[in-house]
Amino acid sequence: NAGVTQTPKFRVLKTGQSMTLLCAQDMNHEYMYWYRQDPGMGLRLIHYSVGEGTTAKGEVPDGYNVSRLKKQNFLLGLESAAPSQTSVYFCASSSAGGPNTGELFFGEGSRLTVL
């Protein structure tokens, strides 16, 4: 199993450009998430999805859009990139399961630099 796969791994953008990060999971998980990781701030939730066709805002959603057209894929889009969006982006997934689940499985990250 590949688990959670993110593409691309690295990208450099100019301010104002747009791009999409793709996340794919092969574990048949219901829930998927996009986090960003910044030094000294840990991971912060951008958007998440609880099922195909659904999305919801997390802690830091501004400047990002997401879509979940298929259960296994979760796309993160930047319509007009800004230097403040320079970060490492992590996708994660988890099973809906019962009360004793909750483990998130992470992808390897996508490092985005906005000049």
Binding site: M41, G42, L45, V50, S94, L104, G107, E108
Partner: protein, 114 residues
């Protein structure tokens, strides 16, 4: 809103030293707690988790954590660290509003010298 505090941002140890990383959370009710580790250049991996029961939780690679409800703490420990434990460690609490969303602390960067 819930929050997680990790007080040690950088820790430097020699091999065989004992490790304790602090984690405090803000909510006083039922909590699900996690420690994740991120080795250099890799993704986050689960070290251990606490949902209920024995407050002393054992995880992978010799790590353990103790849940102390009265102190709102979930500190990570290892009796003897190795160079390969060099990594960043994140404490996290499951969000009250469900869907397995995790709220992470800022992380502790551990460097172990041979």
């Amino acid at each position: 809103a819930q929050s997680v505090s990790q007080h040690n941002h950088h820790v430097i140890l020699s091999e065989a030293a004992s490790l304790e990383l602090g984690c405090n959370y803000s909510y006083g009710g039922t909590v699900n707690l996690f420690w994740y580790v991120q080795y250099p250049g890799q993704h986050l991996q689960l070290l251990l988790k606490y949902f209920s029961g024995d407050p002393l939780v054992k995880g992978i690679k010799g790590f353990e954590a103790e849940f102390i409800k009265s102190k709102f703490s979930f500190n990570l420990r290892k009796p003897s660290v190795q160079w390969s434990d060099t990594a960043e460690y994140f404490c996290a609490v499951k969000d009250l509003w469900g869907y397995n969303k995790l709220i992470f602390g800022a992380g502790t960067r551990l460097a172990v010298h041979p």
